[in-house]
């Protein structure tokens, strides 16, 4: 029955009503979305829904991985695009070994470079934002140098499998959904997932309880890195090649998907299914704006507004409220 500290300070007391405001805003947003959807030509066509899902898939795959980093309390990685590019290049270069080995090598490479960052963050409490910016530059430098600045071409033909559309739906969509279910299971029903969430909830308490924070952080980052590389492989297949400049805004699209899903930026609360929803919501809105003839600028603007509103709403709803 205690009153939380932030409520005790005069003007902040009114912030409580923010929760109502955000609920209202969310409801309003939903209504606008539905009305727009119903009044937009071609939106409800099967073709368009497939298009939405397929444009959500690559960002979604990477965002599902990032969810682990955010949940464990390490905010976000800013090396997502650089890791994806590396993943794409490794995948394309190793394709002569066959599709599955190429994918495995690419994901292992992504996992390794990202796990190393996680280890440093977990063991020495490095700032994840700064460290991953550094790692991102480092990776970009390496991929640029290694590729000689030209587009890396596939060394085998099996990349086309990634672009296939079983039952008319792109393979990436299946992979995204499967990954979401797998990660949801890992987070909710395994010792690893439980520890990730508890560390994100309260790192000091986790340390006092004897959890191996560096190791678990490294594993969470490894899962994220493998997912970035997998997304990169799909990207490379989609573009039939990869250059160091590939997909400049990927990092922020992926972060936006996690945050719009409603995973708490400070960690401890969120889920893989939320991230899946976040990726789909963003893709839906982009698609709507596209169909309605808005330009790219408007799409980016709206994405920004959405992220800000949802992040604030998540923070308010996470209820930094009094406990008994």
């Amino acid at each position: 029955m205690r009153v939380a500290t932030w409520q005790r300070f005069g003007p902040l007391a009114e912030w409580r009503s923010l929760r109502g405001l955000f609920t209202g805003l969310a409801a309003l947003g939903l209504v606008v979305l539905v009305v727009l959807a119903l009044t937009t030509d071609r939106f409800l066509s099967v073709e368009n829904i497939k298009a939405i899902l397929s444009s959500a898939s690559i960002v979604g795959i990477m965002a599902l991985g990032l969810t682990f980093i955010t949940l464990i309390g390490s905010l976000v990685s800013l090396a997502i695009a650089a890791t994806a590019v590396m993943g794409a290049m490794v995948f394309l270069v190793e394709l002569n070994l066959g599709l599955v080995p190429a994918l495995a090598i690419s994901m292992a490479a992504g996992a390794a470079v990202t796990a190393l960052q996680g280890l440093i963050i977990g063991a020495w409490g490095a700032n994840p934002v700064i460290l991953t910016i550094g790692a991102g530059f480092l990776l970009s430098g390496i991929t640029t140098k290694a590729s000689g600045g030209v587009i890396v071409q596939p060394t085998g033909g099996s990349w086309e499998t990634l672009n296939s559309t079983p039952l008319g739906v792109p393979l990436g969509v299946y992979v995204m959904v499967a990954l979401a279910l797998l990660y949801q299971f890992v987070l909710k029903r395994t010792v690893l997932g439980r520890r990730v969430i508890l560390i994100g909830e309260n790192r000091d308490a986790a340390r006092a309880a004897g959890m191996r924070i560096p190791r678990i952080t490294a594993i969470a980052f490894a899962i994220a890195g493998a997912s970035f590389a997998l997304g990169g492989a799909f990207l490379g297949a989609f573009n039939k090649g990869a250059s160091a400049q590939l997909e400049g805004t990927a990092t922020f699209d992926v972060i936006a998907a996690v945050l719009v899903g409603g995973t708490l930026i400070s960690g401890g609360r969120g889920s893989a299914l939320r991230t899946l929803a976040g990726a789909i919501v963003i893709a839906t809105i982009s698609d709507l704006l596209l169909l309605r003839g808005f330009d790219t600028g408007a799409q980016i603007l709206l994405k920004g507004v959405l992220v800000v509103v949802v992040v604030l709403a998540t923070w308010v709803a996470s209820g930094r409220e009094g406990t008994a």
Binding site: M1, R189, V191, R194, L198, A205, A324
Partner: protein, 504 residues
């Protein structure tokens, strides 16, 4: 003193407040005279906090009146209450750690201008600090360099600076050592002597009896006792609080069961905090480390738990050397640690009671890394029963529990053959009410009966004497004496306070 002498400073008439179906305060009337120190006690959840929150302007009453010096008040928020002359000091500290003591003291004052005269502020702060016995604290010191106890005194100085007619102290001593408590008492008596009325909330009945003029006991939202302090005994207070006849306390004599395990500590040290701590600790016994804040008792526990990277020394548990500075490594050797700061370093406050109970035993429940829902629930129920936490609430966030139940839920993770042979507990009953305190002491005794080595640190003499079988007194990071069989309050007090003042 004045014509107001017959007029109460604070009068409550039929004050009531409900939260949903919960009637937190049910029509409480009360009068407190100027200069009176009025004790307020009761269980967690008895309605004390709600009553205080109404007085502080945090919560609006559903019914009833608050009168100050005879004038009816209505507070729209904490600022109104402050303006009316009510100053509140909370158990949870609200100082800004990065600001100086002086800046904190003037922070948030009603009617303060935007710009301040730094020198005047500092002088005013120094004057207020002197009133609470902190003459030796430089007003320019950043608050985060002060001990918790000193911060509490700074909070009181801040409240004094607001020319309050009514000072509310909500469990100010919960985190203090006995020497610091004495300072707080002196400060409170000084304020009261100047005509300020004081409401003093505490779970520690000895403090209520030693300090207050009158006492009010609340239970289930009602006032069940309101008497001059001379008319009540400690047992009478406990009965009023619990609402039942007190059972004769179980005798604290335990089976001196010989347990094969032993924790041998040689030359444990932490630079600047702890020097050369050595002891041979045996299974089945409860060891109490006695010390004021900063005396080193907590440091012993933290170092043994692997939470101090700089710790040195040799510690062996059953011939196995503990890796000092590696909390996870030490935990896997069978050492469990319960922090004195439950919210910051103990519980996962937003997670369920169940997850908090099973956190240290996931390995037992999981198969191939997978947590079975049914197995976890089963284990959670067993642990909740062992720890006396309500089993029907396992799914709720642990933060909804009262302080006592939170502490039990925290201890629960190391019960029932969890693989923990050494249980380290820092301040086992901080912020816990009378009923919870007895239950927690019993849990620790049961743990010792099961053969665990139980080591706790406490700054509370009553707790040490009640619970500790062997008591080790500490001061300034050194061991002063070890009492294997019986020690008196006087022994401990003289060991703890021999030198002037406390280590900063």
């Amino acid at each position: 003193m004045s014509p107001a002498e017959s007029m109460p400073r604070l009068e409550l008439r039929g004050l009531a407040k409900s939260f949903g179906a919960v009637r937190a305060v049910r029509g409480v009337s009360l009068a407190i005279a100027p200069g009176e120190i009025h004790g307020l006690c009761g269980h967690n959840g008895a309605g004390k906090s709600t009553l205080i929150n109404m007085l502080a302007g945090n919560v609006a009453p559903d019914a009833g009146e608050i009168l100050l010096d005879g004038a009816p008040q209505s507070f729209a928020g904490p600022r109104d209450a402050q303006r009316a002359g009510i100053a509140t000091v909370d158990q949870e500290l609200s100082l800004v750690p990065t600001l100086s003591v002086a800046e904190n003291i003037v922070l948030g004052e009603v009617g303060a201008g935007l710009l301040r005269h730094a020198r005047r502020t500092r002088r005013r702060a120094a004057g207020l600090l002197a009133k609470v016995g902190l003459e030796d604290v430089d007003p320019d010191t950043p608050v985060d360099e002060l001990s918790i106890g000193t911060r509490q005194l700074v909070e009181i100085a801040r409240a004094l600076g607001r020319d309050a007619g009514l000072l509310i102290l909500d469990e100010p001593t919960a985190t203090l050592s006995d020497v610091e408590i004495e300072r707080v008492f002196r400060a409170v008596r000084g304020v009261a002597a100047q005509g300020c009325a004081v409401i003093f909330v505490s779970h520690r009945l000895g403090e209520i009896i030693g300090l207050c003029d009158r006492v009010t006991v609340m239970r289930d939202g009602d006032k069940v006792l309101d008497a001059d302090i001379g008319e009540v005994s400690a047992d009478g207070l406990v009965e009023a609080i619990l609402g039942e006849q007190l059972q004769p306390a179980p005798h604290r004599k335990l089976d001196p069961r010989e347990s094969p395990i032993a924790l041998s500590v040689e030359g444990l040290g932490v630079p600047g905090r702890l020097a050369d701590f050595s002891a041979e600790l045996l299974g089945g016994r409860i060891y109490g480390l006695a010390g004021q804040v900063g005396a080193g008792a907590s440091d012993v526990l933290r170092a043994l738990a692997g939470l101090v990277p700089a710790a040195t020394g040799r510690v062996r548990l059953a011939e196995r050397r503990l890796p000092l500075g590696d909390a996870a490594g030490i935990r896997s050797c069978g050492v469990g640690f319960v922090s004195g700061d439950r919210k910051a370093e103990g519980l996962f406050i937003g997670r369920s009671i169940l997850e908090n109970l099973t956190v240290a035993q996931l390995g037992r429940i999981a198969r191939g890394g997978r947590i079975g829902g049914r197995e976890e629930m089963q284990r959670g129920r067993e642990l909740a029963e062992a720890a006396h936490v309500p089993t029907e609430r396992l799914g709720e966030p642990v933060g909804v529990l009262s302080g006592g139940n939170q502490q039990k839920a925290l201890l629960g993770r190391y019960l029932l053959h969890s693989g923990v042979e050494v249980l380290l507990i820092d301040e086992p009953t901080r912020g816990v009410d009378v009923g919870g305190r007895a239950a927690i002491h019993e849990l620790l005794r049961e743990a010792a009966r099961q053969g665990q080595i139980v080591v706790f640190a406490s700054s509370e003499l009553d707790e040490l004497l009640e619970l500790g079988e062997t008591i080790i007194t500490m001061r300034s990071g050194r061991v002063i004496a070890t009492y294997a069989e019986g020690s008196s309050r006087e022994d401990l007090l003289s060991d703890l306070t021999h030198r002037e003042g406390v280590a900063a």
